[in-house]
């Protein structure tokens, strides 16, 4: 089951560049939340703070508090523990090229020392079914490399890989921006199905996509969160002038 995310006074830097400034918001459990805004506004940095990937960059720095359920991300746990609770799907599909489809999905568990074979088989099947890829790959799970799939299939494979470690939160950083329209709509359908089980945060440049999949939408601009509200309100009656300018295409 998903859990909510509470963000209090979050600030982040790349070197001296203050990329995120005083972010406060509550992301509801078991819903999809979209983050929109022009390139470089800090959306990606924000999701990378949630699973502590931001600090893997040597010049990345974070202050403030993020709570996932009862857990204080920066106080109560090590980064690896957080990342097991918070799955991440990246902009470009990045399956492990040396691994089979099966091993790609099982990677998160195997590399953390999980060795129960029968259970692994079940988890792999369940994860691939959850990511709507099972029917397309079930015959060559161990024969084909993850890299041999098409781009859209690779991205669903990456989603299956993230789901296999049984996270509570799923972060998606522009998951469809490198895909064709058919693959994109498959990913969107998937987000629709998955949000009953996971809390989903999706960064997107595509405003129609935000409107289609998300209940809540946040608008980021120049490292600040300008507005956070129900998707319907953001797209029909935004309270901030800058949000209105952005969604009507007057800049960005």
């Amino acid at each position: 089951m998903g859990v909510g995310i509470e963000v209090i006074n979050l600030n982040a830097w790349y070197g001296t560049n203050h990329t995120l400034q005083d972010i406060n918001l509550n992301i509801p459990a078991n819903h999809a939340t979209a983050l929109i805004g022009p390139s470089g506004c800090g959306k990606s940095t924000f999701v990378r703070c949630i699973n502590r990937m931001h600090e893997t960059n040597p010049i990345g720095r974070v202050t403030g508090t993020i709570r996932i359920g009862e857990i204080d991300v920066y106080k109560d746990a090590k980064p690896v523990e957080i990342r097991r609770r918070v799955g991440m799907v990246f902009q470009r599909p990045n399956p492990f090229p040396t691994m089979s489809i099966y091993d790609n999905v099982a990677a998160g568990l195997k590399l953390n020392g999980y060795a129960n074979r029968r259970a692994l088989d079940e988890i792999v099947e369940k994860s691939l079914k959850n990511s709507a890829l099972w029917d397309e790959v079930k015959d060559d799970l161990k024969k084909k490399s993850g890299a041999s799939l098409s781009g859209g299939q690779q991205q669903r494979l990456c989603i299956a890989r993230a789901l296999a470690v049984d996270p509570e939160v799923l972060l998606m950083d522009e998951p469809a921006s490198a895909l064709d329209p058919v693959s994109t709509s498959k990913i969107e359908d998937l987000i629709f199905q998955l949000k009953s089980q996971y809390t989903i945060v999706i960064v997107t440049h595509n405003m129609q996509q935000a409107a289609r999949v998300a209940e809540k939408t946040g608008f980021f601009l120049n490292g600040r969160m300008v507005e956070f509200d129900s998707t319907h309100k953001i797209f029909t009656n935004p309270s901030d002038k800058r949000t209105e300018d952005y969604i009507t295409g007057r800049f960005g």
Binding site: I82, F96, P97, T98, L111, K144, A147
Partner: protein
């Protein structure tokens, strides 16, 4: 005009390829021409005949080379790969890494005879006798910088996205490096090891005052041991026609054995690779 330029550039590329390939083929053909006639079973089963007698073979040198090279690889490959992993993954941007990289590059350019001298003073002098160990260490030292730098280059070519994917799954960094990054780079790393191996397999100079050579059957790495390049060197400089022929045969065998060893490693390591993997 564009088709003319295209034709000229293509022609130049083909010419360059020819210039690269022709000497290689020429050497090989000449070796077969000169050496194949002296190749017989005795070459692989007999030790060198005493001066004045005809016949004899290089069985001891083939075995000696194999043993010395095994020792050299046991030293050069793990240390080299370990160094490469440090440079690419853990030491990035540190002064220590810069120092190691510089040292490896300098070491790569050190003449091979100096490597032999180093092994001589480190091992032969304290032990007070020449030995296969000293030869293996000299060749192993020569392998380290090549293996280290190619491993580093290959690891750096692994896309950042792959590392992030592993970290994003909650895999600890060390585990991600060993199981994902190194595995992804392994074809290139293996190629680097093979290059280093092939290079030292034909080295004579570092063995002259380390392994020394041996006219008799010996499997003791603690004693002077024969090696194909040494044997070829001695025979080629001798005044006897019979020995000259054996030197040609030895050169041919050395090249064939290197090709065989490299192909074997490639074959073994390429099995299990999946369809469609890059």
């Amino acid at each position: 005009m564009r088709t003319v330029t295209d034709g000229v550039v293509t022609g130049l590329a083909i010419l360059a390829t020819g210039i690269v390939v022709v000497p290689l083929i020429a050497i090989f053909v000449y070796l077969i021409y000169k050496g194949a006639s002296s190749l017989n079973l005795a070459f692989f089963t007999k030790v060198p005949a005493p001066v004045g007698e005809t016949g004899g073979g290089m069985a001891n040198a083939i075995l000696g080379s194999a043993m010395v090279l095994a020792l050299a690889s046991a030293i050069g490959v793990p240390i080299g790969i370990g160094g490469g992993i440090f440079l690419a993954e853990f030491g990035r941007g540190t002064k220590l890494a810069a120092a190691i990289r510089f040292t490896a590059d300098v070491l790569n350019g050190v003449p091979s005879i100096v490597m032999g001298l180093a092994a001589y003073s480190l091992i032969v002098v304290p032990m007070k006798h020449f030995s296969g160990y000293a030869g293996g260490v000299a060749l192993g030292f020569m392998m380290i910088p090549t293996v280290c730098r190619t491993s580093e280059e290959m690891l750096l070519m692994v896309p950042h996205a792959i590392r992030e994917a592993a970290l994003g799954l909650g895999v600890p960094n060390w585990r991600s490096v060993l199981s994902i990054t190194v595995k992804t780079a392994s074809p290139g790393i293996i190629t680097g090891c093979m290059l280093a191996f092939a290079r030292v397999a034909g080295e004579t100079a570092p063995l002259v005052f380390t392994a020394l050579g041996n006219q008799f059957w010996s499997t003791d790495l603690n004693q002077p041991i024969a090696a194909l390049p040494l044997q070829i060197y001695v025979y080629a400089l001798s005044p006897y026609d019979d020995w000259h022929r054996l030197a040609w045969a030895g050169s041919l065998v050395l090249i064939i054995l290197i090709v065989f060893a490299v192909s074997l490693v490639r074959f073994v390591t390429s099995r299990g690779v999946l369809k469609g993997a890059s």
